[in-house]
């Protein structure tokens, strides 16, 4: 397989094809007649998935650095490049994206009836944006793609959404925009602080920052990504967006868009700000937020009358596991976080698809309106149960591997957080099983539920690969772990290479003063410059004067 791909020159064009292919598809969709739009879109996205699947073999995990690297100058004046690259972390995110997009499009065939061309064009535009986010190795390019994803999602929610779609769309947009604005500021700060006059990833890695700077920049980045994830108190856009979004929108939102946040954690936060990331207050805050997210979201999910909202809240809980795993700063934790990301993409995406099917049939999402569906739709129920079990992390399904590793990793360094997070295992059952029971089991009193049609052929085609993937990852995750391992190691090495001896030793009381860096940091001495970056900082004192330096006459 590898030889075959090499003979195609696969490495040289694949990343560009994945980024721009959807745009070509978008043009095609816009040019195609209205009735054909969905087929065109599906074929394009499926083609892209087929193309991207070659990455599985073509990517060589040894070393864990960026592969398939290519770049071209974009805005030379600022040193902005169109630079793409792929490593063991982005590999899965990209393939997850190309995998879910055709499925989501297929899942929208019956759901979307108005303005179909626009819808499918936006879906493909979204794919371009998301793939670009995962592949960009230039920070400004990354930012552009990051913002680009906002636009199609805004319209998808705002046009094809439910009753409160405008509110949800605006909320989604503003929430995310606030974070990304701060991130832009942080990117610019790092650009000017760095000496390389470049936005490239490596240049940013080499930026020489002191702890104080790192903490502020960390806060800016963390806010942007934390909103995307979403981390506990920043999550309220998610249930609204999910509930109002059309099924394919929810699927993409859950499967891919949320991952942009956690991907940002892994790709940017940890390597860029190793001192901040190791700062006890930061770690404590992030872990506390992760744990609170797990438990809180599970509780809130359990009492939701709207099934879709329930699943939306479970996303918050799942992503809490990612946060806990990532900020444990251990190999197992990071890998576990990544697997949770993949698994959550698959299982929650599948749940949204299933709920979408229910909505198409019954035009309601309230749990109480259902019941006994397993009798009238056994295939549907089987798929639903398997998906739900994967979602709550039963061993043998994808959810378990990720959660187990994340918790294990967290336990190695932060046992208290891990213990608290592990209660999420119990609460997962507490929210998921009652829903499964009230939707699928119990007597089917409503005649409409007795007539509930089973999975159609198209729906079976949608669910089969998802279910297969859940079980594959659950039973044999090693190929996944092997591919992501070296890249995760690199991230961790980068973090561990920098110590923060200058800061106070870890003591238990730091948890009490969480939230206020200034208070904690004020008495601390500035840390010595790290040995990593040897180049001196260029003085910016020279005034960029309009008038030249001349003595007065």
């Amino acid at each position: 397989m590898t030889d075959f791909l090499a003979s195609l020159g696969y490495e040289s064009w694949i990343l560009h094809a994945l980024v721009w292919g959807p745009l070509a598809g978008m043009v095609h969709v816009l040019a195609a007649p209205k009735e054909r739009a969905k087929h065109v879109a599906f074929r394009w996205s499926a083609l892209l998935f087929v193309l991207s699947s070659g990455l599985w073999w073509a990517y060589d995990p040894v070393g864990g650095g960026f592969d398939f690297v290519s770049s071209a100058s974009w805005i030379p004046a600022w040193g902005v490049e169109y630079a793409l690259g792929l490593d063991g972390i982005s590999l899965f995110m990209v393939v997850l994206t190309t995998f879910t997009t055709p499925i989501a499009i297929l899942g929208s065939f019956e759901y979307v009836t108005r303005r179909r061309k626009a819808f499918y064009a936006l879906m493909l535009l979204l794919e371009t944006g998301v793939v670009g986010v995962f592949l960009a190795t230039d920070l400004l390019l990354f930012f552009v793609f990051f913002e680009l994803t906002l636009v199609p999602m805004y319209f998808i929610v705002g046009i094809w959404g439910g009753r409160r779609r405008i509110y949800a769309a605006v909320k989604f947009f503003l929430y995310t925009a606030v974070g990304s604005l701060l991130m832009l500021l942080a990117i610019l700060y790092m650009y000017f602080a760095g000496s390389a006059d470049s936005f490239s990833y490596d240049a940013f890695l080499a930026a020489d920052l002191n702890l104080r700077e790192e903490l502020w920049l960390f806060a800016a980045f963390a806010l942007a990504f934390g909103i995307k994830v979403p981390v506990f108190p920043l999550h309220t856009w998610l249930p609204d967006a999910h509930v109002e979004a059309p099924t394919p929108g929810s699927v993409i939102l859950a499967a891919v868009l949320l991952k942009m946040g956690t991907y940002g954690f892994l790709r940017f936060l940890l390597p860029f700000f190793p001192q901040a990331v190791q700062h006890p207050v930061v770690v404590t805050v992030m872990l506390v937020l992760g744990v609170v997210g797990i438990v809180y979201a599970a509780w809130v999910a359990a009492v939701q009358p709207d099934a879709k909202k329930l699943v939306a809240y479970t996303s918050v809980a799942h992503m809490g596991f990612v946060v806990v795993g990532v900020f444990a700063l251990t190999v197992n934790g990071l890998q576990g976080g990544l697997v949770v990301m993949i698994s959550h993409g698959v299982s929650t995406g599948a749940l949204f698809l299933l709920l979408g099917m229910m909505y198409e049939r019954r035009h309601t999402r309230l749990v109480e309106d259902f019941g006994g569906i397993a009798r009238s739709a056994p295939f549907f129920a089987t798929a639903f149960v398997i998906t739900a079990l994967a979602s709550i992390g039963l061993p043998g399904t994808s959810g378990f591997v990720g959660e187990f590793l994340a918790l294990l990793g967290a336990f190695e360094t932060r046992p208290a957080a891990a213990v608290a997070a592990t209660t999420g295992v119990v609460f997962a059952a507490y929210y998921m099983l009652p829903m499964v029971q009230r939707l699928l089991f119990n007597p089917s009193d409503e005649p409409a539920n007795r007539r509930f049609p089973d999975l159609s052929r198209r729906e079976t085609v949608i669910m089969a690969p998802l279910v297969a993937l859940m079980i594959w990852i659950g039973v044999h995750p090693t190929p996944f772990l092997d591919r992501m391992g070296p890249s995760v190691d690199r991230v961790l090495e980068r973090v561990e290479a920098v110590s923060i001896e200058a800061t106070a030793p870890v003591d238990e009381s730091v948890g009490e003063s969480v939230g206020d860096f200034a208070v904690v940091l004020a008495p601390e001495p500035e840390p010595e410059p790290e040995p990593l970056a040897a180049e001196p900082v260029v003085e910016l004192a020279e005034t960029p004067a309009l008038l030249p330096d001349v003595e007065g006459d």
Binding site: L547, P548, D553
Partner: protein, 98 residues
């Protein structure tokens, strides 16, 4: 020293011009005051050209061209406003408010 004093004069003219823009109601006179401000700026450019080179004067040339164009369009606007409202008092219409 001439340059510095020319600059002070340009500052004075500019301020008087802007005062006129703010306190007068007659559109024509407001417009005249704007021209006055432009002239003040031109004076500053010309003065500074003694220190930075001929570009200062080139800039003045461009400003004059733009001023001419602006005068043409601006006066045309005033004419059509006058046609519509029968006045050139700028406090009589508030087209800028939605």
């Amino acid at each position: 020293m001439l340059v510095e004093h020319a600059l002070l004069l340009s500052a004075l003219l500019f301020v008087i011009g802007s005062l006129g823009v703010v306190v007068r109601r007659n559109a024509i006179i407001v417009f005249l005051c704007i021209e006055l401000q432009l002239n003040a700026v031109n004076l500053a450019f010309t003065a500074i050209s003694r220190h930075v080179g001929i570009e200062g004067q080139v800039f003045v040339f461009f400003v004059m061209t733009v001023a001419a164009a602006e005068a043409a369009v601006g006066l045309a606007v005033i004419i059509s406003i006058f046609r519509h409202y029968g006045t050139v008092g700028v406090d009589k219409f508030n087209l800028l408010k939605w």
